[in-house]
Every structure is written in structure tokens, then in C-alpha cells.
């Protein structure tokens, strides 16, 4: 009371000291500059973040786009019956006996013929010299076509043959002429040849769909490697994660949030769930190895096991976000439901859960995105299977067949020696990031769409 009366009736000397509102005093100036400084720090922080983000994106895109293009050699291969089908009866068993070694000379000959037809002069006068231009996978490529259609034997068929990774690298600027001197795989003469063949359209660089749909390839044939099979592995794992972690996570959160008594045990469980979310993922990997593979004898490298391990890892994330969104539902809604005689369960499932659904959905998608990019636990359970067969094989029995996953595949490629694999690793990163961005966008859209409709 007394304070108020003093301040509302200032004494005469106080009035004399009044300052102008137009010119600010020293204190105000100080406050203002403190605020300006704080803003500067904030802007500087954000600018640093954006700078590194741009550097990251630019380097990923510039290093990775190469993987989406591939160099091919257009050649007409004469499928010589005397080499491919000695008995002449086109029996599939006999054709299968001819390995890729039987096809390699034919392909080399085809490329060699192209040189002669176009009158290109080169010091490379042997058919075998063409080996450096052609991918080691080319023979298998031709063989697959022949086995699928034996009637082609004896004819000259146009093929788009994979060029070797060095030729590919030369066209993409990855391989320089200076480097070739130290390279046993290719000589300067080969590069001259490539320079001559490109304008003729015999060697061309085109979009490489096989990188997106194809399977991994061995160390020496980077040009044939694709991420498609690993994508399928990741897809199966995500399926397992979604099917297991969403219902388990939501059920656990509903129980903890709505039904469980609040006592020491539930507190303990709560703390442990929060801690589990912070456990390094490799710990989940070794847990999966011990429990699922060594104890339960599930197959190694199987997406089922990968999915189970990632489920363990994703569950805490989903439980925490689900509980947060359940908590955000106003208690008046629960009261209202109980007030008209709904049971606890009816009030949860009819009213609380629908209101919490957008939050749960977002949390789940973020959890899935996290699981999609997880590598460490997959290494421990062997989800780095080398699968060189193309997509259709092994899809049907997908869950138990050995497979790889996208991040594990990228890690594998990054480990390998050939710089062509390095390029593919960046390309894989682009695809992985594409998936993550679209999942996060989906989460944002779903949240906007369903959140608090009225």
C-alpha cells in the first residue's frame, strides 16, 4: 500500500530530472547494443549452419551425379555358333556350359570390328587390346541375353555394352591423362581411341537406370554396381520396423500414459525408455547379434533380423513422441468422455487417440527415417551381404534371404579401392537423402493435414 502511494506521487526534485523521450539515455543505449549483439550472434550461428549445409549439398551433388550416368559402347556382336554352341542343337544345358570366357573374345572382336569399319587408326592391333575398354561385366550381359533367347546364336546382334570404369571415368573427368601412365588397366592409346569413338556415337554416356535398380558388383567392375537390391533390403527392413514398432510403441505409450499407476516402477520404466533412446545404435547391433542370431539362430544378413534390431532402436523414439502427443491432448476431453459414461478404454480410443494421431504419425515417420539411415547395427548383424544378382531374384523370399541395406551398401562402396565406387557411394547418398527428405516431408504434410482439424 505505502509503496504504491509513494510512486504515484513523486516529489518535486524527481520531476526536475525527467529525460526526453526522443534522445535515449546511456542505459537504454547499452540495452539496445546488447540486443543488437545477441541478434548478431544468432544470425552468425544460422549463417554458419547454412554455409555448411550448402557445402555439404554441393559436394554431394557434384560428386554423386556421376553415378547416375554411365558410359556404354554400342557394338554389334556376332554370336558365333562354333564358340557358343558346339553341338549345334541349342540345348539350354549345353549353352549354360559356356562360361563368360567364351563370350569375351566375341565382344572384343565386335569392338575391334567397329574400329575397322570406321577406319580409325590405332597402334592397338590386337583384338585382346580392346579388353581395357570393355567392362568385365559385358560378357555376362551378353550371355544372359543369349541364354534367355538361344535362337539369337548365329546372328549379329546390336548390344549396348558397359564400358570399363576407366573409360567411364575418363568421360566424366575422373580419370586424367596424367594418371594413366601409372595405371596398369588402361593406356594412353586407349584414351585416344575413346576420343575417336565418342564423336561417332559408338561410345556414349547416358542416364544409368541400372544404378537405381541394379545389384552390387564385385571389386573390379564398379561400372555394373547399383543400389537397387540394397534398396529392397532397406524396404523390407522398414516394413518389419513399421509393423512391429508402431503397434508395440503405441500400445506401450497408451498404457504408460493413460492406464499405468504413477508409482516408482513406472517412473523407473519411464527413465529407462528415455535412456534407451540415447543408447548408441551399435549397442543395439551387438544385442541383435547375441539374441537374434546367436541365440535364436535366425539367418544372418536377413532383413528380418535387421528389421528386428532397428525396431529395438526405433521403439524408444516412437514411445517418447507418442507419449508427448498423448500428453498434449487436453484433459478436458478425457473428462468429457468419462462424464458421459465412456469407459477408460473408450475415452482413449474414441477421443484421445484420434487427437494424438498426427503426432504419433510424425514421430513414427521420423523414427523410420532414423532407422533407414542407420548403419552401425547392420554391420554387426552382417546386413552387408554381397548380392550381385539383379532385383527380381530373391524378392519373393525377401525377409529371410541375405541382403544389404542402403547405408550399409554405401559404406561398402566407400571402402573399396576403385574411385568409381567412391562416386557410387556419393550417388547412393543422394538416393538415401532423397528418401529421407521425402519421408520427412510426408511427416510434415500429414501433421499439417490432420492436426486439429477444428
Amino acid at each position: 500500500m505505502t509503496d504504491v502511494s509513494i510512486s504515484t506521487t513523486p516529489s518535486a526534485p524527481d520531476r526536475a530530472k525527467r529525460v526526453s523521450l526522443i534522445s535515449s539515455d546511456a542505459r537504454t543505449e547499452k540495452r539496445k547494443s546488447a540486443e543488437r549483439r545477441f541478434r548478431m550472434y544468432g544470425i552468425a550461428g544460422i549463417a554458419t549452419g547454412i554455409f555448411f549445409l550448402i557445402v555439404l549439398l554441393v559436394s554431394i551433388v557434384s560428386s554423386g551425379t556421376g553415378a547416375f550416368q554411365q558410359t556404354f559402347i554400342n557394338a554389334s556382336v556376332y554370336l558365333d555358333p562354333s564358340k557358343l554352341d558346339k553341338n549345334g542343337n541349342r540345348a539350354i544345358e549345353d549353352l549354360r556350359k559356356v562360361s563368360t570366357f567364351g563370350y569375351t573374345p566375341l565382344i572384343q572382336q565386335a569392338v575391334f570390328d567397329k574400329l575397322e569399319q570406321n577406319g580409325i587408326e590405332t597402334p592397338l592391333q590386337k583384338r585382346g587390346d580392346m579388353k581395357a575398354l570393355i567392362s568385365a561385366s559385358a560378357a555376362a550381359q551378353v550371355r544372359d541375353v543369349v541364354l534367355a533367347n538361344p535362337d539369337l546364336i548365329g546372328e549379329t546382334v546390336d548390344f549396348r555394352i558397359l564400358a570399363s570404369s576407366r573409360v567411364d571415368g575418363y568421360l566424366k573427368g575422373r580419370v586424367q591423362r596424367e594418371d594413366v601412365a601409372r595405371d596398369k588397366n588402361i593406356d594412353a592409346e586407349h584414351l585416344d581411341l575413346v576420343d575417336a569413338l565418342v564423336p561417332l556415337g559408338i561410345i556414349e554416356k547416358t542416364f544409368n537406370i541400372d544404378f537405381i535398380t541394379g545389384a552390387d558388383a564385385s571389386e573390379s567392375r564398379a561400372e555394373a554396381a547399383g543400389i537397387g537390391v540394397a534398396m529392397i533390403g532397406s524396404f523390407f527392413m522398414m516394413l518389419v520396423v513399421l509393423v512391429l514398432s508402431l503397434p508395440i510403441g503405441v500400445a506401450a505409450s497408451i498404457y504408460l500414459e493413460e492406464f499405468a499407476p504413477k508409482n516408482r516402477w513406472t517412473d523407473l520404466i519411464e527413465v529407462n525408455i528415455a535412456n534407451l533412446a540415447a543408447v548408441p545404435s551399435i549397442v543395439f547391433g551387438i544385442l541383435g547379434l547375441a539374441v537374434f542370431i546367436q541365440f535364436m539362430h535366425l539367418p544372418q544378413s536377413a532383413p528380418l533380423v535387421g528389421g528386428l534390431v532397428l525396431t529395438l532402436m526405433t521403439l524408444p523414439t516412437i514411445i517418447i513422441s507418442t507419449r508427448a502427443s498423448l500428453k498434449a491432448v487436453p484433459p478436458s476431453i478425457r473428462d468429457a468422455a468419462l462424464g458421459v459414461g465412456a469407459s477408460k478404454m473408450q475415452s482413449v480410443f474414441h477421443h484421445v487417440l484420434p487427437l494424438a494421431a498426427p503426432g504419433i504419425l510424425t514421430g513414427t515417420i521420423i523414427g523410420l527415417a532414423q532407422a533407414l539411415g542407420e548403419t552401425a547395427p547392420l554391420l554387426l548383424i552382417g546386413m552387408v551381404g554381397f548380392i550381385a544378382s539383379n532385383a527380381p531374384d530373391g524378392i519373393a523370399s525377401g525377409l529371410l534371404d541375405p541382403n544389404s541395406a542402403m547405408p550399409a551398401q554405401i559404406y561398402e562402396w566407400a571402402k573399396r579401392a576403385d574411385p568409381a565406387f567412391y562416386e557410387r557411394a556419393w550417388g547412393g547418398i543422394i538416393i538415401l537423402l532423397g528418401f529421407l527428405i521425402s519421408m520427412n516431408t510426408l511427416a510434415v504434410i500429414l501433421r499439417r493435414r490432420f492436426e486439429r482439424r477444428w
Binding site: 499407476p261 504413477k262 487436453p330 478436458s332 476431453i333 478425457r334 473428462d335 468429457a336 468422455a337 468419462l338 462424464g339 458421459v340 459414461g341 465412456a342 469407459s343 473408450q346 474414441h350 477421443h351 487427437l355 486439429r452 482439424r453 477444428w454
Partner: protein
């Protein structure tokens, strides 16, 4: 002693709906309601008044066992509706709450359509066999809550889009739709403007025809306007209970007099 006086006066005119004997409520160690005895009559509006924190809302929530949802809350004593102990082990609180409807302080319609708000109760209690039955119940309830004319053209519109007063009447309609025998109202007008308050008060008076209404209110004027019986709570005790007119004009207890004249509260 209050009980005796009331029984003498009204026992032949009106039946006792709710009877509370020696009710004690504890929140953990806190003794919130101390030894409350009260008989609430059928087809009457009973007002609970008293200063904040005196336990009137707590006691109200005992009458439909809403306090069950609070872990630390413990209720002792007997509360019976039509002679049946509602804290008996065999009583399902879900059934009880269908019989004893409740309207809350803040309007809390479900974020669904007006129709769904009202039809939810009847639906979960299986009161309607067909869609047509349900339509009838919804219309009746909305009419009883004096809101039918305002919403009949937009039953599909969200209940949360109505004004505060309309929302509260919608909540009353929702409570009425389960065909309760008792309506509990916990400060139903505290979030409403004077016009909406007047509408709801008028409605409470009409609801008296069919239900026993118990209303908790902070406003003594409101208690005087709508109720026939008034109970004054102070610090967890039921200080005085009697005819509203008597309480306001000729209170027996000095505490009641202090409160209604504004000296405590």
C-alpha cells in the same frame, strides 16, 4: 441437525435422490472433505456455494465417482443414489456416470460434429437401435438444452465452432442425451458471458422438471436465482444446508452469514 429439519419439511413432497452420510475425502494426506452429510432431493436444483478450495467441487465429483480418476484421492463414508451405495464394489462407475451426468466448468465439446457430440453417449450405452432412434434422441436432447433452433441446420458442423454459451448448452445436451437421473454442474457459467449465463440459468430451471440438478457456483446471485436448496461449504465442512431463501435471508451459522455478506471468501 440440518438434515432433520429438511426431512420434516419435505419428506412427503419430494423423494430423496442422493443421500450422503459421513463422507470424507482425502487427497493424499490432505483431508479435503470432512464428515459431510447431505440429502439431495429429486426434481430440485441444489446449489453448492462456498469460497474457493472449500471442497464443493470435490464433493460434487464424488457423486459420479469422477474422483476415481485421481490416483491419490480416497473417499470414505456412504453415498447412495436411490438407496444404492455408489461406492459398492459391484458398481461400475461407467454405468453410474451414465445415470449421473456431468457438465464441466469449461465447455468441453468433443472436436467432432454437433451430432456426434450428442449421439456419442447414447451410442456407447446402446440407447438407440437404429439411426432414426438416434436422430430422435439427438433432437430431444438438443431441444432440452434449448439449443436445437440454433443448430438444427448445421448438425454436421464442428461443436467447437460454436460460441461459448452454445458450447456449454451443447455439453448439457450431451449430458442429457444419456438419459441421466441426476445432472451435476461444476460452475457451468464461470466461462460464459452474462447473456449466455442467463440462457444456461433459464435452462437449469427447466431441467428441474426432469432431473435432480446439483450445481456448484461461485456466484451467490446465481445460487439465489436458480436453486431451491443451497449448501454452504467452508474449509471442507458442510456448514449449512437448507432452503435457498432461508440461507440467504436468515442463515443460522455465523460463517454462512459472513460469506453471503462478503466478509469471508
Amino acid at each position: 441437525m440440518n438434515d432433520m429439519r429438511i426431512l420434516e419439511r419435505d419428506v412427503d413432497a419430494q423423494a430423496i435422490k442422493i443421500s450422503a452420510k459421513n463422507v470424507q475425502v482425502f487427497y493424499g494426506d490432505n483431508h479435503a472433505i470432512k464428515d459431510v452429510n447431505v440429502d439431495i432431493q429429486d426434481k430440485t436444483v441444489t446449489a453448492f456455494i462456498g469460497p474457493s478450495g472449500c471442497g464443493k467441487s470435490t464433493f460434487l465429483r464424488c457423486l459420479n465417482r469422477m474422483n476415481d480418476t485421481i490416483d491419490v484421492c480416497r473417499v470414505e463414508g456412504d453415498i447412495s443414489i436411490d438407496g444404492e451405495d455408489i461406492y459398492d464394489k459391484r458398481v461400475d462407475p461407467v454405468q453410474l456416470r451414465a445415470k449421473v451426468g456431468m457438465v464441466f466448468q469449461k465447455p468441453n465439446p468433443f472436436p467432432k460434429s454437433i451430432y456426434d457430440n450428442v449421439s456419442y453417449g447414447p451410442r456407447i450405452h446402446g440407447l438407440a437401435r437404429t439411426k432414426a432412434d438416434l436422430d430422435v434422441i439427438v433432437e430431444q436432447s438438443l431441444r432440452r438444452a434449448a439449443i436445437w433452433d440454433e443448430v438444427k441446420d448445421r448438425l454436421g458442423a464442428p461443436g467447437t465452432g460454436l460460441s461459448g454459451g452454445q458450447q456449454q448448452r451443447l455439453c448439457i445436451a450431451r449430458a442429457v442425451a444419456t438419459q441421466p437421473e441426476v445432472l451435476l454442474m461444476d460452475e457451468p457459467c464461470s466461462a460464459l458471458d452474462p447473456i449466455a449465463t442467463a440462457q444456461v440459468e433459464e435452462l437449469i430451471d427447466e431441467l428441474r422438471q426432469n432431473y435432480s440438478v446439483v450445481i456448484v457456483t461461485h456466484s451467490m446471485q446465481q445460487a439465489a436465482r436458480v436453486s431451491q436448496k443451497t449448501a454452504f461449504f467452508h474449509l471442507g465442512n458442510l456448514v449449512e444446508y437448507g432452503e435457498t431463501g432461508t440461507i440467504f435471508t436468515n442463515p443460522e451459522d455465523p460463517r454462512t452469514e459472513s460469506y453471503i455478506t462478503g466478509r469471508i471468501g
